[in-house]
């Protein structure tokens, strides 16, 4: 009962002091603080609304800002410094088998439509696989094919050629060369057919799932 009277005996602290108080309260409090609450916590006679104006100005252009959230106020990291709240680690992974095969088909058959890729691979090509290759800038959209439906085509990029040390996609070894290089002789021996055959399928399936997850 007597508290308000007692308090009013003291003059309100100078505005600079009130600014410090606002600063400290907003810094230490977990939730945004309303003016009413500031008023309740600061000494009698304080004007938190005015102090907030000063504090807001003081933090303009700083690493943290005073922001209004609904009726309440809080310090928040400046939006342009959000990247500091992240720690980036780079991880290099081998491209999935589905992606490699799709990429190979684009490289050997460009310009090639999605339907053609699917026909060659014998399985449907997930959206993610192509998107990934485009994002890596290894594959880009070519001209539309002048056939019914005018499907888009895919071609490989300069980035792709640079990465694989090719001057031209035509430099890629042909099927004949691949065969003589022993790259085509890798049919599983008849005895192991089911086993490896099954594995192959599994891998494809896995690839698909992987792509969807990412």
């Amino acid at each position: 009962m007597t508290t308000p009277e007692n308090d009013s005996l003291f003059e309100a602290p100078p505005m600079a002091e009130q600014e410090r108080m606002v600063e400290a309260i907003l810094f230490a409090t977990a939730e945004p603080v309303s003016i009413t609450e500031l008023m309740g916590r600061m000494p009698h006679g304080c004007d938190p609304a005015e102090a907030l104006v000063h504090v807001r100005k003081r933090y303009e252009g700083r690493g943290v800002h005073l922001v209004k959230i609904g009726d309440a106020w809080a310090f928040r990291t400046a939006a342009d410094l959000g990247f500091l709240m992240q720690k980036e680690t780079v991880e290099t992974r081998k491209l999935s088998r589905a992606a490699i095969e799709t990429l190979a088909i684009v490289a050997y058959h460009q310009p090639v439509t999605r339907a053609e890729i699917e026909e060659i691979r014998g399985v449907s090509v997930s959206r993610g696989t192509v998107d990934q290759l485009i994002e890596m800038e290894w594959v880009r959209l070519g001209r539309r094919r002048m056939t019914p439906g005018r499907p888009v085509t895919f071609v490989v990029t300069q980035v792709f050629l640079d990465h694989f040390g090719l001057e031209n996609a035509r430099d890629l070894p042909g099927l004949k060369e691949l065969r003589s290089a022993g790259l085509l002789e890798n049919r599983p021996p008849p005895g192991a057919a089911q086993l490896t055959g099954k594995d192959d399928d599994d891998e494809d399936d896995d690839d698909q799932v992987e792509m969807f997850e990412e």
Binding site: Q86, T92, L95, E101, Q132, S180, N186, P189
Partner: protein, 266 residues
């Protein structure tokens, strides 16, 4: 011995009252040193000028009093009493030059040091606790932001991956006539023939493990044979000056690359 000492006690009334109060509180002391420190305060002097002799007498009187009141004192209080009685005799008797061990003054000085040190630590502890404390007088940030760990994944593939991938697709439907395979052995000649073609496409350092033919890299027996053959073929090709071989350190992957013919000119 303690009896006679107690007879000649010249305690004032107030000292006796204080001693009785101590007795009542005996449980509150943290051992004899704590009690001695409390007793020493009754001397109302700087601890550095304290009379250890007087302190010893106070302590012995305290123990005597406790005995009279049939209070059970812990053993260390009695050990201290015995030691102080010994110290007292040392301090009172003229030093005996034949006697070994530290003098009474030395022992008294050490006890005084211990008391002073304990009091200093108590004062320091009080000063420490009187400091502004985190979460009581000053505060940390109330709302914290987690540092997000962002994992950026980059994908790579080699030309060999690409070619093998393509070959895999293109040969899916091919019929392969049955031949007598020496299933699990790869010869150096086979490997050499294979590498001669492949090497033309390998401009960059590539792990020789990636030259293993597909199907030869899962089964340990086949992998061993293929690795040996590939390695031998690599040595052969290096000898011919077609490729370069390197290895970062013992057991590190062995890498090869095509030797650029232009290098020969320089």
């Amino acid at each position: 011995m303690a009896d006679t000492e107690f007879q000649e006690d010249a305690q004032t009334v107030s000292e006796r009252v204080a001693a009785e109060a101590l007795i009542v509180d005996v449980g509150a002391f943290e051992g004899p040193l704590d009690l001695l420190l409390t007793l020493s305060r009754t001397q109302k002097v700087d601890l550095r000028q304290i009379s250890i002799l007087a302190l010893a007498e106070q302590y012995l009187a305290f123990v005597e009093q406790a005995k009279k009141l049939r209070l059970e004192l812990a053993a260390d209080y009695l050990v201290m009493a015995a030691w102080l009685a010994f110290l007292k005799s040392r301090l009172l008797l003229p030093p005996d030059p034949t006697e070994e061990g530290p003098s009474g003054e030395e022992l008294a000085a050490h006890l005084a040091f211990q008391l002073e040190r304990l009091e200093a630590m108590r004062n320091s502890a009080a000063k420490l606790m009187a400091r502004d404390q985190l979460g009581r007088d000053f505060f940390a940030r109330g709302v914290t932001e987690d540092v997000q760990r962002v994992r950026r994944v980059t994908y790579t593939a080699t030309l060999l991956d690409l070619m093998q991938g393509y070959a895999r697709i293109r040969t899916k439907d091919e019929f392969r006539p049955f031949v007598m395979d020496r299933d699990e052995v790869m010869t150096m000649e086979q490997s050499l023939a294979r590498m001669r073609h492949l090497i033309g496409f390998a401009g960059d350092w590539t792990d020789i493990a990636s030259y293993l033919p597909e199907g030869w890299d899962n089964d340990p027996v086949k992998r061993r044979s293929a690795t040996a053959a590939t390695f031998a073929a690599s040595l052969e090709l290096a000898k011919e000056g077609k490729i370069e071989i390197r290895q970062g350190e013992t057991f590190a992957p062995i890498q090869i690359r095509k030797r650029d013919p232009r290098d020969d000119d320089t």
